[in-house]
């Protein structure tokens, strides 16, 4: 099952199913494979440990 994680500052969402190909994380890359010091690619303010997991039904609104 794919999980989604949201940047608490700007709302960017990392979705394991989609990955972030431009960042070098192809579709299907699990969150655990993303480096701990990786920062939000949109705002640069928050790093991976600050991202919060979204519930299955929660909309990924920005």
């Amino acid at each position: 099952m794919s999980a989604r994680f949201r940047c608490p500052e700007c709302g960017y969402v990392y979705d394991e199913a989609a990955g972030a190909p431009r960042e070098g994380f192809p579709a299907g890359t699990p969150w655990s494979a993303v480096p701990e010091d990786w920062h939000c690619p949109d705002c640069g303010v928050e790093d991976k440990p600050e991202f919060t997991q979204l519930g299955d039904a929660e909309p990924a609104q920005r």
Binding site: E9, E23, G24, H39, C43, G44, V45, E46, D47, P49
Partner: protein, 401 residues
């Protein structure tokens, strides 16, 4: 005119600066104003109109017009952000910026200006493209790929294509820490800062792109590398201008690029001077989140209008994806004594800079100099001067967030 109804709630609030934002387009018109002033007065000194306007006229306007701490209410921000009028104010900078480049290249090669007058015109062009980096900065923070591409276009004339990588992924991540080449330190003069930020930012940008591409199993030597494709725009632009106006234009293009990015770096110099984020006390060796008090703020209206609220820098760093029209004044941010234009002039005279800024920085830290980001080579001297024992603990090594 702003009494519109959005999906969320009706809005009755007027943006006092709404119709002031197009004034930013005066900047790329400076080379044409220079020509007009020279024609009208007969004096070639006006080829220097760019530096004269930015460093001489603007500080006067800042003083006359004064400050404004008014913020849009939170309830209108969403509506304000989606109003495309504000976007067009920044997009319109680019055609005028390129028109200035073409007109400037024509005047530099097709007229009988003296060498000194040509130098003046090159500096005027540099000022256009230095402000162009600010326009690129606003565009480069956005998610839309069109705006990110326009950001590169606006950076090309100053040869600073790596800026939108380093600024967003390097500077914003490490701001107000000793690791950031673009955050100046207490005791560091502008002349020491300039080589450190120019070389350090370039090195960091290359490292960031190399790392990103290596995760895709790619070599950095590809046009997918955003540094290479952005720099290529500068090569093409300068090549086209040289083909039309002759190779003699190239030295002036280089001079204006250096002056343009030097203006940008002088602004970098003042935006975080001496400010320091502390490490979190959770044993992870991470810095605390960037807060409004990690950037110097300035509410001067005249320069804020021409810089798309760049001087509301505290809110920008705390919330970098906010668009310029909705940036707020922050009560808990340290305030510069003037707008950026006058502060640039002060930065050029280091003893004056120390006199103006060091007491303000110390006051911000309640007199505790060890909480500041101190330039390592002069650390002991700074500690002695500002009343802490030499060898006092380096705060970047400890202290709770």
């Amino acid at each position: 005119m702003l009494a519109v109804s959005t999906a969320t709630q009706p809005v009755s609030w007027r943006d006092p600066k709404r119709f002031a934002w197009p004034l930013g387009l005066l900047i790329p018109l400076m080379p044409f104003m220079a020509w007009g002033l020279v024609e009208a007065t007969g004096s070639g000194v006006f080829w220097f109109w760019g530096p004269m306007f930015v460093l001489g006229v603007l500080p006067v306007f800042d003083t006359l017009v004064g400050k404004d701490a008014a913020n849009p209410p939170d309830s209108v921000v969403k509506w304000l952000e989606q109003d495309r009028y504000y976007r067009w104010c920044t997009y319109a900078y680019l055609p005028l910026q390129y028109l200035a480049m073409v007109g400037g290249a024509w005047l530099l090669t097709g007229s009988d200006l003296s060498l000194l007058e040509k130098l003046g015109l090159a500096l005027t062009l540099g000022a256009v493209n230095g402000f162009g980096i600010n326009t690129a900065h606003e565009l480069g923070h956005k998610r839309a790929s069109l705006e990110r591409w326009l950001s590169k276009v606006a950076l090309a004339p100053a040869c600073y294509g790596h800026f939108f990588i380093e600024h967003n992924r390097g500077h914003h991540v490490r701001v107000a820490t000793p690791e950031d080449p673009a955050s100046s330190r207490l005791g560091e003069s502008f002349y020491r800062f300039w080589p450190r930020t120019v070389a350090g930012s370039l090195r960091s940008a290359w490292h960031l792109e190399t790392e990103r591409l290596s995760r895709q199993d790619r070599s950095p030597w590809t046009l997918r590398n955003d540094l290479l494709n952005a720099w290529l725009m500068s090569v093409v632009l300068f090549g086209v201008l040289a083909a039309f106006f002759g190779i003699a234009v190239v030295p002036f293009l280089l001079v204006q690029a250096v002056y343009g990015f030097t203006l940008l770096e002088s602004v970098n110099y003042m935006e975080h001077y001496g400010l320091l984020r502390q490490k979190r006390d959770d044993g992870t060796d991470r810095y605390e989140r960037c807060q409004p008090y990690h950037s110097w703020n300035s509410d001067n209206v005249a320069s804020n209008v021409l810089l798309y609220h760049l001087q509301r820098h505290s809110d920008h760093h705390a919330h970098p994806t906010r668009r310029y029209q909705s940036l707020r004044h922050c009560e808990d941010a340290p305030e510069l004594p003037s707008g950026y234009p006058l502060m640039i002039v002060i930065a050029l005279v280091p003893p004056l800079w120390r006199r103006v800024m060091d007491p303000r920085l110390l006051a911000h830290y309640d007199g505790d100099v060890t909480r500041a980001n101190i330039h390592p080579p002069v650390r002991d001297r700074i500690l002695r001067r500002y009343g802490a024992a030499p060898g006092s603990a380096d705060p970047s090594a400890s202290v709770a967030a």
